[in-house]
C-alpha cells in the first residue's frame, strides 16, 4: 500500500501513462510537482514561455497521435498557456495541461499569482478539473488522458492547488492508465441511407478533413474514391489523405484552393464530408456552398452533424469504420451509375483550373523555395521504414503556400494551426514533433511576423538539439494582412510593414543555432541541401521581398465560386465566376 504525495502520484501516473517527455516552466505553485519530476525517468523540456510549452505538447501530440503533456505554474503561467489550449481545442488535439494553483485554503482570496484557471479553461478545453485531494488524482489523471484521447480528441486541463501536491495519501492500487474509449459503431440504417444516396449520385465528391486523417481513414477513403469514382478535396488538416499527385485529388478546398477544387464543389450533386466541420474558411458563404448537392456527413462528434448544414444522411462514427461500412453497403447494392462523364469533367477542370503557382522552379521565389526545400527534405527524409518528413507551419501567406504546394505522401504530415490560426505555432510545434518522432526530419515554414511570436523557443530547440529546420520567409511585413489590405481595403497598407527589421541569421546564431542566408549563396539549392543534412536545428533565411499575393483567394464572406484568380500573365487580377 503506497503512501505518496500528490506530486509523486501525478508523476507515477504520467510514467504509467507512457509519457516520455513533457514541456513546461516551473514556478512557486508547481514546485512540488517539479521536485517529484526530478526523480522521474520522464524527460523535462524547459520551454522559454508557457505558450511555447503548450505548442511543444501540441506538436508532439499532432505528430504521434497520442496525448502529450505540458506544465505551467499558477497565474501568469496558466494564462500564458491559454492560447495553445484554445488552439488545441479548435484543431482537436489531445493534450493534457497540468497547472499549479495557490493552496486550496487561499483559493478565492486574490492570493499572489492566483487566477481562476478553471474558469478561464472552461470555454477552451474539452474538459477541466480542479483537484481537491491527492486521492482524487488517482481518478482525475487517467480520466484526463481518457477524455483527451477519446472520440474527437481535445485538450484537458487539471488545476493542481499546491497543498494537493504536497499532501500525502495511502492507497491500495494504481488505476489503469487512461485510454481512448472505443468509437461508436456506425449505425447500420444511417450507412444504408448514405449508400443509397451515394449509389444514385451522378456527380459525388469526397471531402476529407482532419478527422479522416486522425482516424487513419485515408486507405478506406482512397479505396472508396477509386472504386466508386469520387474525386477528392481536402481541408487543410485533411491534406495528405490522398497523395498530392493522385489523379482523383483536387487538393484543398475553400479560401486558398485551386479554382478547380472550388469548381468541382460547385458542380457536385452529392458531398460526402468526412471528419470535417464545414468551417467558414472551407465553405465560403455557406448558403452558396455546393448549391446543388445533397450532404452525407460523417463525424465522430455527433454535434457536428447538422451544426452548419442539415445533412441528408449522417453517420456519427470513426471515419475509417464509417467508410469501410459504406463501401460494403455499396457492394451489396451492386449496380450503380456510370460516372465516366463526371470523371472526364474533373480531368478537364483540373487541367484548365489547376494551381499554377508562379516561380515554382525559381528557388529564390516564395513558391520555388518551398519546392526546393521539399526536394532537399525528401532526399534526407525518406527512410527505409517509410517514415517521412513532417512540416510545421506558422500562420500567413507562407502557410497557405505550403498547403498549396508541399507534396504530402500521407495524412498527418502537415502540422498547422487551422482553426485558431495562431501565429507563433510553428517553431514550438516543430520542436515537439521532432522530440516525439526523432526519426523524422521536421521542417518549420515560418514568416518573420510569426517567428517573432515565439522566437524565444530558438533556445529550447538548441538546448534539446531538436532536428528542426526553420525555413524563414523573410518579407519584412505581415504578409497576409498586407495582402488583405491591398485587396480589400483599397490598397491602404497600414500597420503591416516592419520598418525595423531584424537580422534573423544573426539572431539564430545568438541563440547558438546554425543559420544560412540563401541570399548569400550562389546556389540556394546546394545551401539548402547542406542545411538539411546537418544534424540538429538550423535556420534558413529566404528573402521574399516582392512576393505576389497568395492566389487564388475567396474574399472573406464571399462564395467559394467568387475567387480572385491570377490572369495568365500573373500581373493583373480578375474576379472569375466559375460558371462565367
Amino acid at each position: 500500500m503506497p503512501t505518496l504525495s500528490g506530486a509523486e502520484i501525478i508523476v507515477r501516473l504520467l510514467e504509467r501513462q507512457g509519457i516520455e517527455f513533457l514541456a513546461g516552466i516551473p514556478g512557486g505553485a508547481n514546485l512540488p510537482l517539479y521536485d517529484a519530476l526530478s526523480h522521474s525517468t520522464i524527460r523535462h523540456v524547459l520551454a522559454r514561455h508557457e505558450q511555447g510549452a503548450g505548442f511543444i505538447a501540441q506538436g508532439a501530440a499532432r505528430a504521434s497521435g497520442r496525448p502529450a503533456v505540458c506544465l505551467a505554474t499558477s497565474g501568469p503561467g496558466a494564462t500564458n498557456l491559454l492560447t495553445a489550449i484554445a488552439d488545441a481545442r479548435l484543431d482537436s488535439v489531445p493534450i493534457v495541461c497540468l497547472t499549479g494553483q495557490v493552496p486550496s485554503p487561499m483559493l478565492g482570496v486574490d492570493a499572489f499569482q492566483e487566477v481562476d484557471t478553471y474558469g478561464l479553461a472552461i470555454p477552451v478545453t474539452k474538459h477541466c478539473f480542479l483537484a481537491r485531494s491527492p486521492l482524487e488524482l488517482l481518478r482525475i489523471i487517467p480520466e484526463a488522458f481518457r477524455i483527451a484521447a477519446s472520440g474527437r480528441p481535445g485538450p484537458v486541463l487539471v488545476d493542481l492547488p499546491r497543498d494537493v501536491q504536497t499532501a500525502m495519501a495511502d492507497f491500495d492500487e494504481w488505476p489503469e492508465p487512461g485510454r481512448a474509449d472505443g468509437p461508436p459503431a456506425p449505425d447500420a440504417e444511417a450507412v444504408e441511407r448514405a449508400a443509397e444516396l451515394l449509389g444514385d449520385a451522378r456527380r459525388p465528391l469526397l471531402l476529407l478533413g482532419g478527422g479522416a486523417a486522425r482516424a487513419g481513414a485515408h486507405l478506406a477513403a482512397r479505396s472508396l474514391a477509386e472504386r466508386f469514382s469520387l474525386p477528392v478535396v481536402c481541408t487543410l488538416h485533411g491534406l495528405g489523405c490522398l497523395p498530392t499527385d493522385h489523379p482523383l485529388n483536387l487538393g484543398m478546398l475553400g479560401m486558398h484552393a485551386s479554382k478547380a477544387a472550388n469548381t468541382v464543389l460547385e458542380e457536385c450533386d452529392l458531398l460526402v464530408a468526412v471528419g470535417c466541420r464545414l468551417d467558414d474558411r472551407a465553405t465560403g458563404r455557406l448558403d452558396r456552398f455546393c448549391p446543388d448537392a445533397a450532404l452525407i456527413h460523417v463525424d465522430i462528434d455527433a454535434s457536428e452533424l447538422g451544426k452548419r448544414r442539415a445533412p441528408q444522411a449522417s453517420i456519427a462514427a470513426d471515419a475509417a469504420d464509417a467508410l469501410t461500412s459504406l463501401a460494403r453497403a455499396l457492394d451489396k447494392r451492386g449496380g450503380g451509375v456510370s460516372r465516366s462523364a463526371w470523371l472526364g469533367r474533373v480531368v478537364h477542370v483540373k487541367e484548365r483550373f489547376g494551381l499554377r503557382p508562379p516561380g515554382l522552379d525559381d528557388p529564390r521565389s516564395a513558391y520555388g523555395v518551398l519546392a526546393a526545400a521539399a526536394r532537399a527534405a525528401a532526399s534526407i527524409g525518406v527512410r527505409a521504414d517509410g517514415r517521412d518528413v513532417l512540416v510545421a507551419t506558422d500562420v500567413g501567406r507562407h502557410q497557405m503556400r505550403t498547403a498549396q504546394v508541399w507534396p504530402l505522401a500521407g495524412p498527418g504530415r502537415l502540422l498547422t494551426s487551422g482553426g485558431l490560426g495562431t501565429m507563433g505555432f510553428g517553431l514550438p510545434a516543430a520542436i515537439g514533433a521532432a522530440l516525439a518522432e526523432p526519426g523524422h526530419p521536421v521542417i518549420c515554414v515560418s514568416g518573420d511576423g510569426s517567428l517573432l511570436m515565439n522566437v524565444q523557443e530558438l533556445a529550447t530547440a538548441v538546448e534539446q538539439d531538436a532536428r528542426v529546420k526553420i525555413l524563414l520567409m523573410d518579407n519584412g511585413c505581415l504578409g497576409l494582412v498586407r495582402q488583405q489590405q491591398e485587396l480589400f481595403m483599397d490598397g491602404r497598407v497600414f500597420a503591416s510593414r516592419f520598418s525595423a527589421r531584424a537580422d534573423y541569421v544573426a539572431l539564430a546564431r545568438a541563440f547558438g543555432m546554425r543559420a544560412f542566408d540563401l541570399s548569400e549563396h550562389g546556389d540556394p539549392e546546394a545551401a539548402m541541401a547542406e542545411a538539411f543534412a546537418a544534424s540538429g536545428p538550423c535556420l534558413i533565411r529566404c528573402p521574399v521581398e516582392d512576393e505576389p499575393h497568395v492566389l487564388p483567394m475567396v474574399p472573406p464572406g464571399a462564395a467559394n465560386c467568387e475567387m480572385i484568380c491570377e490572369t495568365e500573365n500573373h500581373d493583373a487580377m480578375e474576379v472569375a465566376h466559375v460558371h462565367a
Binding site: C128, L130, G306
Partner: protein, 107 residues
C-alpha cells in the same frame, strides 16, 4: 387543453432541458458557459442535489433549464451532451412544474 395562466411569465411555457450532472462546484459554470458561448438564452434555472449525494467523491444533481424553443435546440442539446459532467439529458417539451413553483416566489 387548459387556458394559459395570464399571470404566469410567458417563458414558463417553454421547453425544459432536464440534466443529471456530477455535483461539484464547477458544474454550473460548464453548463451556463456553454449557453452563453453559443448565444442561446436560458430563461430559468433550477438545481438540486439528488438524494444520496453525501458520498465524498461527490454525488449527482438534477438541473432543469427552461429554454425558448428555437431551431437551434437540437444543436444545443447535442453540445450539452458532450459535457463530461452531464450524465443524462432529457428534453421535456411540455415544460416542468418546478418552474411554476418557483414563479410563486416572484409575486
Amino acid at each position: 387543453m387548459s387556458m394559459p395562466d395570464r399571470n404566469a411569465p410567458a417563458a414558463l411555457t417553454g421547453t425544459v432541458l432536464e440534466l443529471t450532472v456530477n455535483n461539484h462546484p464547477g458544474v454550473m459554470s460548464h453548463i451556463c458557459g456553454l449557453f452563453a458561448r453559443r448565444a442561446f438564452n436560458v430563461e430559468g434555472v433550477a438545481c438540486l442535489p439528488l438524494p444520496g449525494g453525501e458520498d465524498p467523491s461527490g454525488g449527482l444533481s438534477r438541473v432543469w433549464l427552461l429554454l425558448r424553443e428555437d431551431e437551434r435546440l437540437g444543436q444545443i442539446v447535442s453540445q450539452v451532451e458532450k459535457l463530461h459532467d452531464v450524465r443524462e439529458t432529457r428534453v421535456l417539451a411540455q415544460g416542468h412544474p418546478v418552474f411554476a413553483a418557483l414563479a410563486g416566489h416572484l409575486r
